[in-house]
Symmetry: C2
Subunit: 218 residues, 2 copies
Amino acid sequence: MPVRDGNKMGIPKGVINRLPLYYRYLAELARQEVEKVSSSELGEALGLTAAQIRSDLSYFGSFGQHGYGYRVDELYNQISSILGLDRAYNLILIGAGNLGKAIASYQNFRNRGFEIKAIFDNDPLLEGKYLSGCIIQPIDKLTEYLANNPVDIAVITTPREVAQDVCNQVIAGGVKAIWNFAPVRLQVPEGVVLEHIHLTNSLLRLSFKMKHSDKIKD
Amino acid sequence: MPVRDGNKMGIPKGVINRLPLYYRYLAELARQEVEKVSSSELGEALGLTAAQIRSDLSYFGSFGQHGYGYRVDELYNQISSILGLDRAYNLILIGAGNLGKAIASYQNFRNRGFEIKAIFDNDPLLEGKYLSGCIIQPIDKLTEYLANNPVDIAVITTPREVAQDVCNQVIAGGVKAIWNFAPVRLQVPEGVVLEHIHLTNSLLRLSFKMKHSDKIKD
């Protein structure tokens, strides 16, 4: 397979970005008890071509049948599994400011198996307070916590100045996945995966679209 | 130009996603008083190929000189202008919960010319309180505000149940750009641009990367 977007084994970023769309749309169809769906129908609902959908799915195996399409429940389960949603994840959150509070109280994640197990902050005024069922712990308890509890994902909602330090600390404690909300490009070693919510980039895309709205349709 | 990613005039989404990276890296070089940069140097710093950078920029005109590269200040100004950062924007924010508070207090936007001018919420307990220099106004003042004040961008940080209603209301009031944080796919008419921060999609990309980390490198 070709190497694209700096991606070793050829799963293009566009495919990874579209999988959650497929997943959520199939979840909706399953809720409506729809039994089957064609790639054209999927495409129409999601603003993509049937060929693109077939091409995206081909990275992960062979799905559906010619002339029939896909069984909704089957494809939903397969995409869930591709996305890693066939298991539960233990999360910790570091940074209990406004953004941390917003993330901690966001129930959508918990419903999909992502559970925040502990919350840390360096503000002594927050210590011992409850947030979404967790006691806020001082940041100097983080290493001890990691030594004694399995953690799959660290959510970083600290100010930018301390984000890399916090990131290094959780990686030293064995965490292999970082979900970063701090406005800084974190450095992580090989074998650690990183996903970054970058608010400024999103706002710049919006101003780009405003300026070029005659040339863009999405 | 080819039609790609549902994009009428051929500016691929990948290009739009990379422009903010170029912009921020050039800003950093300009701060360090670096005078020129080649596409190879840009590429190395950003994990892209020189050819990709030249191809991305070619959508917007002719930049740099063969054998010289780019003047940092010139390219920075050109990309700022492409991104629409050669003007200021008036924002309003609807939804003053934790996420709204986090957005309102995020200074990075203001420094780039995006200023929150008014904040609305339907919680009577929040009415009249100050948030980042704005008085929180009741949501039923929104239409009146839009009739009397120029607004470029509406930031929606409401619960999902009311997000589409709020979106319809600001569009009826003449707003042409929506920055949506509510976990719902908003419908907007032709001529209105939309940018969506989708937390769940981001978390699903992270779990995908965890499962396929042997096949992914980014």
